[in-house]
């Protein structure tokens, strides 16, 4: 996977910066340039999430995506942040202890290596809170 294409939103991935619409008071992560509810009438501003949240659902990946082979088995989950939006991330935890509804908090980690030129990239994973 050529991750190098996705450098534009690196800062958002490092710092969990999404968007808040002050028109409808909804929070978005990943960040958006257009509020899906208010569309052109939305008033968007960057918003930094503290990252506290809970597990909506998860899986333990045994057959990895390219570039993630050395990490198997790894836990992939949808995390619902307390402010509202949900995101997809890896959970650094014992797969056997994973539970839906479990509280988690963010950590800054290496995400993986791009298949192109072995580039390492970083972002936010989560751990049990």
């Amino acid at each position: 996977m050529s991750v190098s294409r996705f450098w534009r939103k690196q800062v958002n991935r490092y710092n969990l910066i999404g968007t808040h619409c002050s028109e409808c008071d909804e929070y978005y992560y990943p960040p958006r340039n257009m509020c899906p509810t208010c569309r052109r009438d939305g008033k968007l501003e960057p918003y930094k999430f503290d990252g506290d949240g809970e597990i909506v659902t998860f899986t333990i990946i045994h057959t990895a995506a390219e570039g993630f082979e050395h990490q198997t088995p790894y836990v992939l989950a949808i995390v619902k942040l307390d402010k509202g939006p949900s995101l997809t991330s890896q959970i650094v935890a014992d797969p056997a202890k994973m539970k839906i509804g479990m509280r988690v908090k963010p950590v800054f980690r290496k995400l993986g290596e791009g298949s192109d030129r072995g580039m390492i990239y970083y972002g936010t994973k989560f751990i049990p809170a």
Binding site: T57, F58, T59, I61, H62, A65, Y74, L76, I78, T88
Partner: protein, 390 residues
């Protein structure tokens, strides 16, 4: 708007065909469908070709023109050919484009087809290519795979409704059983619950036997205005509805992880257009890219209450001879899933069933059938209702 009918159909064999190229398999399907319809190249007004990712799978883009050329429709006849893409729903969208072209009166005879050649690259590269159907920047980058996304749907379905691994396995068992009666199917072996549960874990709780495979294959059909369909065939199959809907590209943004709102919305429109209800449908081909996907589909299409999809499957209601036979072709699971071809293959299967030509898998007295084709983890859904009667 004009009524539209299917007058000819053809599937190639599905599976790994290392000795045959993308254009080889497409030409077999296209020529077969034209022959079935008794239509000559000179009659064709346009072609629509569903293809998800020949760029990634065989390093070839501009597939519409390529296929028109190798089907003998380009150099002298200059038939316009349009590639249509919506990930695994590309075929269903090609059918919908073809129907709209004929219904509008712009074209008379139209070929709607789909093709994918997935086995020329390693299966891990194919998985990476398929992951482009999800949100690469916010799902793929975190290590999400397609089996992984559907596994998260399954996990939540189990948690919320008590669906079991055995119930998931029953979907695969039924579809392998149906596939064993389909000459074109990739897998014709019957499997047991134990075999599914013992098979390699891909993304918990989905085993390899919960997954559709990586496949090569092509499917084609010929559309005509209903008013002239009888010129070509004694059993035209009429399009009663075509509907399509979108949802968020990423699974994490959905209203409910266990419901494909795009399916619900498209189904609502399809039933309304056809003036029918789920009880009127005699059989359905649903998008079972993973066993959990079939369970969600029969719920979201109105054939089972939300949460009951696993239970009705286990009770045999979706088997041939049951209340609502699902995936008589073997589905994506056993028939195979050459992604761009799948949506067309579903319509070919329903056409053969409604004509009474489905051999050992024939559903007795089938009059009305449905196809349900999904792109990604549910960002696109396209539904068609087909009938023997106009």
């Amino acid at each position: 708007m004009r009524d539209v009918a299917i007058i000819g159909v053809k599937n190639t064999n599905f599976g790994e065909m290392w000795e045959r190229s993308l254009r080889d398999i497409f030409v077999e399907a296209g020529v077969g469908a034209l022959k079935d319809a008794g239509v000559a190249g000179e009659n064709i007004g346009a072609m629509y070709v569903g293809n998800m990712s020949s760029g990634q799978f065989v390093d070839q883009e501009h597939v519409g023109a390529l296929i028109a050329d190798y089907s003998g429709l380009a150099r002298n006849l200059h038939v316009p050919a349009t590639r249509v893409e919506a990930a695994c729903a590309s075929g269903g969208l090609a059918l919908r484009q073809g129907i709209m072209a004929v219904a509008s009166g712009y074209e008379d005879i139209v070929v709607a087809a789909g093709v994918e050649k997935m086995t020329d690259i390693s299966s891990s590269s194919a998985s990476t290519a398929l992951a482009a159907a999800a949100d690469r920047e916010w799902e793929g980058i975190m290590g999400a795979t397609f089996p992984g996304l559907y596994a998260m749907i399954a996990k939540m379905h189990m948690d919320k409704y008590g669906t079991t691994s055995e119930q998931l396995a029953e979907v695969a068992i039924k579809n392998h059983f149906n596939g064993s009666m389909n000459p074109i199917a990739q897998y014709k072996n019957k499997i047991s619950v134990e075999a599914v549960l013992r098979s390699i874990m891909v993304a918990d709780p989905l085993h390899i036997f919960d997954c559709s495979p990586i496949s090569d294959g092509a499917s084609a059909l010929v559309l005509a205005p209903a008013d002239i369909a009888h010129k070509y065939t004694d059993t035209p199959i009429y399009i009663k509805a075509t509907a399509q809907a979108s949802d968020t590209i990423a699974l994490h943004d959905r209203r409910d992880i266990t419901t494909l709102d795009a399916t619900v919305f498209a189904a609502k429109n399809a039933y309304k257009m056809a003036k029918l209800t789920p009880a009127d449908i005699d059989l359905v081909e649903v998008h079972d890219c993973f066993t959990i996907a079939e369970i969600c589909a029969i719920e979201d299409l109105g054939f089972a209450k939300k949460g009951q999809g696993g239970k009705v499957t286990q009770e045999g209601e979706t088997a041939i001879g049951g209340r609502i036979p699902v995936n008589t072709s073997g589905g994506l699971k056993a028939c195979g899933h050459p992604v761009g071809a799948t949506g067309i293959k579903q319509a070919v299967e329903i056409t053969q069933q409604l004509r009474g030509e489905a051999g050992k898998r024939q559903v007795d007295g089938a009059e009305i059938g449905m196809t349900h084709n999904v792109g990604g983890s549910g960002a696109t859904a396209v539904i068609h209702i087909l009938s023997r009667n106009r």
